[in-house]
């Protein structure tokens, strides 16, 4: 638990986090650490548990329908121990969240400005006028054109990119330490995506924010993140610096993700590589490594025992029995991993 190399308290620390809905174990033992002032990208395909991990940090799931185990520390608080009142202070105050689809994440019948001032006045004793002035400053900060007028817009009156900027302004309204971004660019046009990512990066640096950004877009992850964590079937299979994970991947799943990108100009007639098969049924987890049925390097051991997380370099951790072979295969070139499934 004690890490002597880094003396600071991390912004977010999850240990042994498990989240289940009924019998479905969606997040299955996640250990994750986000240093202050850093950005971490959590990547994985749909259903890998990345969004659930993020929401668990704010305890957004009703206790009746979900079961959370493990420990969550965020912005210096033991999240699972917070009472109702402290939890609502914590949400939006210490840690806030940006959602995937800003049109759906704003209440359609209130103006955007009202929703920002509502949040400010929820957390601080401040006059309506001052709250509005703060909202205006935030709109300027996220570079929304004619901010004064835009504060009085309803969400449907804004463009997608502007709405996401407004969402970021809302999230920053109470000066949180940690920002959780759930696929913040997925719903946006490609040209707007990069602008929003750059804005996030800039705010993170200027305000000393710690960010966790959930995405399935490796390009976006590399753009903003210091570190990348790759999730598969509710487990983190590889973590490292952005460079380590992208340049020197050791987990076959990470390799599969990297290879299935349409990178540069593809030769005419060449096919995009894909990872064969589909993610496992989380309600009926097979023993062993969850990726084994789809893995090009699968061995007998993989089907029986779950590999433990092991460091292969400082800060670079994988959960795979055959990390070295996978890495060698990746370095050997693009073709050998192509496995045809019937």
């Amino acid at each position: 638990m004690t890490d002597t190399t880094i003396p600071t308290v991390p912004a977010v620390e999850l240990s042994g986090l498990r989240v289940a809905f009924g019998k479905t174990q969606v997040v299955d033992g996640v250990d994750l650490r986000l240093e202050r002032g850093q950005a971490l990208a959590l990547i994985g395909e749909s259903g890998s548990g990345k969004s659930v991990t993020l929401r668990a940090i704010l305890r957004l799931y009703a206790p009746g329908r979900s079961r959370i185990e493990g420990t969550i520390f965020a912005a210096g608080r033991d999240v699972l121990a917070l009472d109702k009142r402290a939890l609502s202070e914590f949400r939006g105050g210490d840690v806030s969240m940006i959602f995937q689809e800003p049109l759906l994440a704003f209440d359609p019948v209130y103006t955007v400005g009202n929703q920002i001032t509502e949040s400010i006045r929820r957390h601080e004793t401040i006059s309506a006028r001052d709250a509005r002035a703060r909202a205006l400053a935030l709109f300027e900060r996220v570079r929304i054109p004619s901010p004064e007028r835009r504060l009085d817009n309803y969400p449907h009156e804004m463009s997608g990119g502007m709405r996401q900027r407004a969402m970021i302004a809302l999230a920053l309204a109470c000066r949180p330490q940690v920002l959780l971004a759930d696929e913040p660019t997925t719903a946006l046009d490609a040209t707007v995506q990069i602008q929003v990512l750059l804005l996030l990066r800039e705010l993170q640096r200027d305000l000393g924010l710690s960010i966790i950004i959930v995405t399935h877009d490796l390009g976006a992850a590399v753009e903003v993140a210091d570190r990348i964590a790759v999730m598969y079937a509710g487990k983190i299979v590889e973590t490292g610096t952005a460079r380590q994970v992208v340049r020197d991947p050791h987990h076959p799943y990470t390799i599969g993700l990297l290879r299935s990108r349409a990178e540069g100009a593809m030769d005419k007639g060449s096919r995009l590589q894909t990872i064969p098969g589909s993610p496992p049924d989380l309600a009926n987890r097979p023993p062993g490594c969850p990726f084994a049925p789809r893995c090009f390097l699968v061995a007998d051991r993989c089907r029986k025992e779950m590999p433990p997380a092991a460091a292969i370099a400082p800060g670079h951790v994988i959960a795979c029995w055959r990390g070295e072979e996978a890495s060698a295969a990746y370095r050997a070139g693009p073709t050998p991993v192509a496995v045809e499934m019937a």
Partner: protein
């Protein structure tokens, strides 16, 4: 906003004109001679013709319509054949009584409907939801004239707590908001409230369930709002639809209360219509149908405007 109201007013005009044509013609489509009800059986042809001319029934229909419309536009709905009193006066008094009854019923129905709807919507599939849903299904399906009679049997005949019929102790048909008159309105209003209660409860339940499932509710919680804070947003989002339904229900109650007003002998428009139909009182019938239809038009207008005020997305659409 003002422009929107003006625009809606302009679009309402042809609707109102159409309604007046239909009102006028509808009555003429019905079989039976209105004068036969008032004239003695042995009246001479000369008397009949004279009466026809006096009421204008001898002229061709379009001309009759034009004359009628002209009078209507000047606030003159004609004279009742049966009572000889001005139709406007008769209808006016009945409308007030119906409005009172319908308003009280809508208020009861809306209050309980919204309450049950929110409880059921917030506690989906719980026992409370089942009870609230059962009550609303009962409300929508029970024949209300039957329910009216059962209530009269229980609360008037057996328990003797409330008067069974009429609008007040003096039988004058002028309702006043005092305790004595309140006792008269309870049974008909409750009977009448049952259907809107059921409809509103079911709609609000669906609405609340739908709103709670939307992303923005999670976002509101994520920014630290308490459940009370979230509830305010849910109410504001549910309000336009709930109000629209309440407005429509009020409209239905104003016109569709013939059965209840007859069961409870409540001197409203339903009671009046019923009488006008059976007495073949053409001017009274035309007048009351026209007024009721105009009520619908006006209500729809008001509901539209209110919705626009509450939900900014509607104006653009």
């Amino acid at each position: 906003m003002l422009l929107y109201i003006l625009k809606r007013l302009v679009t309402v005009t042809p609707v109102a004109f159409g309604v007046s044509v239909v009102c006028f013609l509808l009555v003429h489509l019905a079989p039976g001679d209105p004068l036969s009800a008032v004239l003695p059986a042995d009246a001479t042809q000369a008397t009949i013709d004279e009466m026809r001319a006096a009421y204008g029934f001898d002229k061709p229909l379009p001309v009759q319509y034009a004359i009628w419309l002209w009078h209507v536009l000047h606030g003159d709905l004609g004279v009742s054949i049966a009572t000889g009193r001005p139709v406007a006066q008769e209808v006016g008094r009945a409308v007030v009584n119906s409005l009172i009854l319908a308003s009280v019923a809508t208020l009861i129905g809306f209050t309980f409907g919204v309450f049950f709807g929110f409880v059921a919507g917030y506690r989906r599939n719980s026992i409370l939801d089942r009870i609230a849903s059962a009550l609303s299904v009962f409300g929508v399906s029970v024949p209300h004239y039957w329910l009216g009679m059962v209530l009269v049997i229980v609360f008037s005949a057996t328990l003797g707590w409330l008067p069974p019929t009429g609008a007040g102790p003096d039988g004058s048909g002028n309702w006043r908001p005092d305790f004595e008159h309140l006792r008269y309105i309870i049974l008909p209003a409750v009977t009448m409230a049952v259907i809107p209660m059921g409809i509103i409860a079911r709609t609000v339940r669906a609405l609340v369930g739908d709103i709670l499932g939307q992303d923005f509710v999670e976002a509101l919680r994520a920014k630290g709002l308490s459940e009370t804070g979230v509830f305010k947003h849910v109410v504001r989002n549910a309000a336009p639809t709930a109000l629209a339904i309440m407005g429509l229900q009020l409209g239905y109650l104003l016109g569709g209360s013939i059965l209840i007003e007859t069961v409870f002998a409540w001197p409203g428009t339903g009671f009046l219509l019923n009488a006008a139909i059976f007495q073949r009182d053409l001017p009274l019938l035309q007048g009351s149908i026209l007024v009721l239809a105009m009520f619908f038009v006006a209500l729809n207008l008001i509901v539209d405007v209110m919705q626009t005020a509450l939900d900014p997305r509607i104006e653009r659409a």
